[in-house]
Symmetry: C2
Subunit: 448 residues, 2 copies
């Protein structure tokens, strides 16, 4: 964690240019050049930032040809530089790259293929709207939710992240104290299965949502939408299933919409189901998606129940110059096809289970591992300084993340205590990759 004492701006696993240590001179020059050209709002990962030049599958390579095992990047869901995605993008680039105000087949074929996967009302007769980023998807989703409900308020979890636009940053508390939350935002605790009875989480969270909605009503905002990432990534990764069922009921009782932010959890990541919200047995009003949708090509979307977007479509319109252009659609189609044909959801389930078993074995030997959570290939390992008290140990997490990085294995950390190892590899992560991650982690833990 790089805390800025003046303002409270923090980011877990950020390079701290104030403590450059003994950086290689070439790296130091590159970092200086980067600061000069890109400015002060950019952050790098790790105590010693990683330079990358090329990648393949689950491997990144630097300019010296050294390979890094990628156990972090969920965007390249089907693996870095997957030939089928490259071929699809290249073929479409040679044909046509234009916007949605002309008729094109590809976007319709893709929407027709994807919509049934949501089930419920969206699956039956919902719509798919295209943006370029998850932030844009969440921004649009809230515009739709507010227009439909005529209300303003948003409820999120305490350390949620939902985007970088003015609107979405306004309900993304994980951006730190420097980023002001909207006056129309209320926060509820994430379903912390490590510190509470997992069976009680749903009703605890639902009760908190009901109280927050009452607060929003008292302030005249009312509840437009509850928004959650079903894996609670920036809250510390909480993956207990069925928690959001009672929450959705509380949201509806308060007249709000349920927005499932699937930017992290979607497209098979959770192993068990194609969409993370489906692990909770709910029927959301709006679903947003992004990161892995085009395996790195900028494409994201909003799936919305028909009745929810009806007034928005009547009173307003939505156009996104690049959103859903032919090439974005080609990338999304190929990525979805690879996920299905290579059974990457199944792989996420299998390798995720393997990884968690290996981590559990390490936990028997290393006291610092307090909890292991996860679904599919989204895994959180909570480091603690005291198992009985479950005291967050950010230093241990940082040491492990950077120790792995020195051994060329890339993960990160998350959570309000910055003490949860965040393991989120491409979905093509193999059993051998899992072995390498586990054995390297063991070496790092042993050295501490």
């Amino acid at each position: 964690m790089t805390p800025n004492q003046t303002t409270g701006a923090t980011m877990v696993n950020a390079f701290d240019p104030g403590q450059p240590g003994a950086l290689d001179p070439a790296l130091a020059r590159m970092i200086e050049r980067r600061g000069r050209l890109l400015g002060p709002a950019y952050r790098l990962f790790y105590q010693t930032p990683v330079e990358v030049c090329r990648a393949q599958g689950t491997r990144l390579y630097d300019s010296q040809g050294r390979d890094y095992l990628d156990a972090y990047n969920n965007v390249v869901s089907v693996g870095h530089c997957h030939p089928q995605v490259i071929a699809a993008v290249h073929a479409q680039m040679q044909l046509l790259c234009t916007h949605t105000r002309y008729l094109q087949d590809g976007i319709l074929d893709y929407a027709e293929a994807l919509l049934p996967s949501f089930g419920g009302r969206i699956g039956a007769e919902g719509h798919l709207m295209f943006t370029c980023t998850g932030s844009e998807a969440n921004d649009l989703a809230i515009r739709i939710a507010r227009h439909h409900t005529g209300r303003n308020g948003i409820i999120v979890t305490e350390e949620a992240y939902h985007g970088n636009s003015e609107l979405t940053a306004g309900f993304s508390p994980s951006l730190g104290r420097g980023a002001r939350l909207g006056t129309w935002v209320r926060r509820v605790p994430a379903p912390d299965s490590y510190r509470h009875d997992p069976a009680a989480l749903g009703h605890m969270m639902a009760a908190a949502v009901t109280r927050a909605a009452e607060e929003l009503a008292r302030h005249g905002d009312g509840l437009a939408a509850f928004v959650a990432d079903s894996l609670f990534s920036s809250d510390g990764i909480f993956t207990t299933p069925e928690v959001l069922g009672p929450v959705a009921a509380a949201v509806r009782a308060a007249g709000g919409l349920f927005l499932a932010d699937e930017v992290q959890a979607g497209f098979g990541r959770s192993g068990e189901r194609f969409w993370g919200f489906q692990r909770h047995g709910i029927d959301p009003d709006i679903v947003t998606m992004g990161k892995p949708m085009g395996n790195g090509f900028p494409v994201a979307a909003v799936a919305v129940a028909r009745e929810v977007v009806a007034e928005f479509g009547r009173d307003l319109r939505y156009f996104n110059t690049f959103g859903g252009n032919g090439v974005a659609i080609a990338a999304a189609r190929a990525t979805r096809e690879v996920i299905l044909t290579e059974d990457l959801q199944g792989n996420a389930q299998r390798i995720g289970t393997l990884l968690r078993a290996g981590l559990a074995a390490l936990a028997e030997r290393f006291e610092g591992i307090g909890d292991i959570r996860g679904a599919g290939l989204y895994i959180g390992v909570e480091m603690v300084s005291d198992r009985a008290r479950r005291t967050p140990d950010a230093q241990a997490a940082a040491a492990i993340v950077n120790g792995l990085r020195e051994r060329r294995v890339l993960i990160s950390a998350t959570g309000p205590g910055a003490n949860v190892l965040k393991i989120r590899p491409p979905l093509v992560f193999s059993a051998a990759d899992a072995d390498q991650l586990l054995s390297t982690l063991e070496a790092v833990l042993r050295k501490r």
Copy 2:
């Protein structure tokens, strides 16, 4: 124009599904399917929408193999499917497509090459920050401007368009009455050179800005930024140079920042200068860019003076998952190189001059042409029902746009009166293309 009488939601040159006329059955089925899958917020162009399958240079082709002359799409600035952009994207797709929290050379090389083009403070020691869309760039720019000034208010022109996010839609009056403007927004008239003395426009506009800033101060918002597209695209295309100099002085006097929105005017479009604001001799605090930056690949950016973003970088951070990824940068680098090596700015100037001369010749024969404006390859032709009174003639503009479309030449219309023909072709538009556009326009005008 498709006015929605209930809500005032309008869009110039939108297909009206309520008046489908005698559409080809296959086209009607595709439109029905589109509505079912993408929902009611999407719009199509033209009375008879255009289906497209492939494109090359200045030509689009439908599934019947019919060719359309593209005199509208500014995104594909270097021409549809330019081989150099395709090759650059393909090469990078095979190498690496990842985000900015690892060190990469390409993004730095691009920023280093582009920044000097802005001149002034940004050229000297400014920064370049990457997003995926122009909306995201304007949204981020305003976040930066508000953080820097500690103020809230934004001044735009009466029919401005600056984006589709909640924040940017809030200062995009051209979205229509269904889209609420922020309480912190004030509007000033665009510099209408057809109805006012061009020499007086700068001081008229500056005086309006001063009054608007006083209003914002009285309401406690104060002025964070004045935002303008230097070609005033959605206001009706006004291209008198030097107008924004006095405006910038008024903005500074009120303590605000000048945000030059170059999403439309940038990258050589205006012919005379690489950036549209440079035709006004000003030194903006922030410049935003997008559409043509990657010739259709989703990439956009904010260029900002060093001192303006210093606090934002200290107190907050900015990360955009796809913004400035390796492939986006490859597309942007290739596009910029083509603009320079093929002298497309010069071509815009030459062909734009040719087109305006041809239009002026038509105006001698057709009374309905009230005014011809433009810079480079951004041209507005104002249609009027009465030359002496300069009465906007939206019907004439719609008839011409759709008449050209029937003859497979694509333009659109703009302006508060929906009566300004919007001619904005790829910058590779040739003299032969210009001839075809002019002779087809003549045929359409003659038939009326």
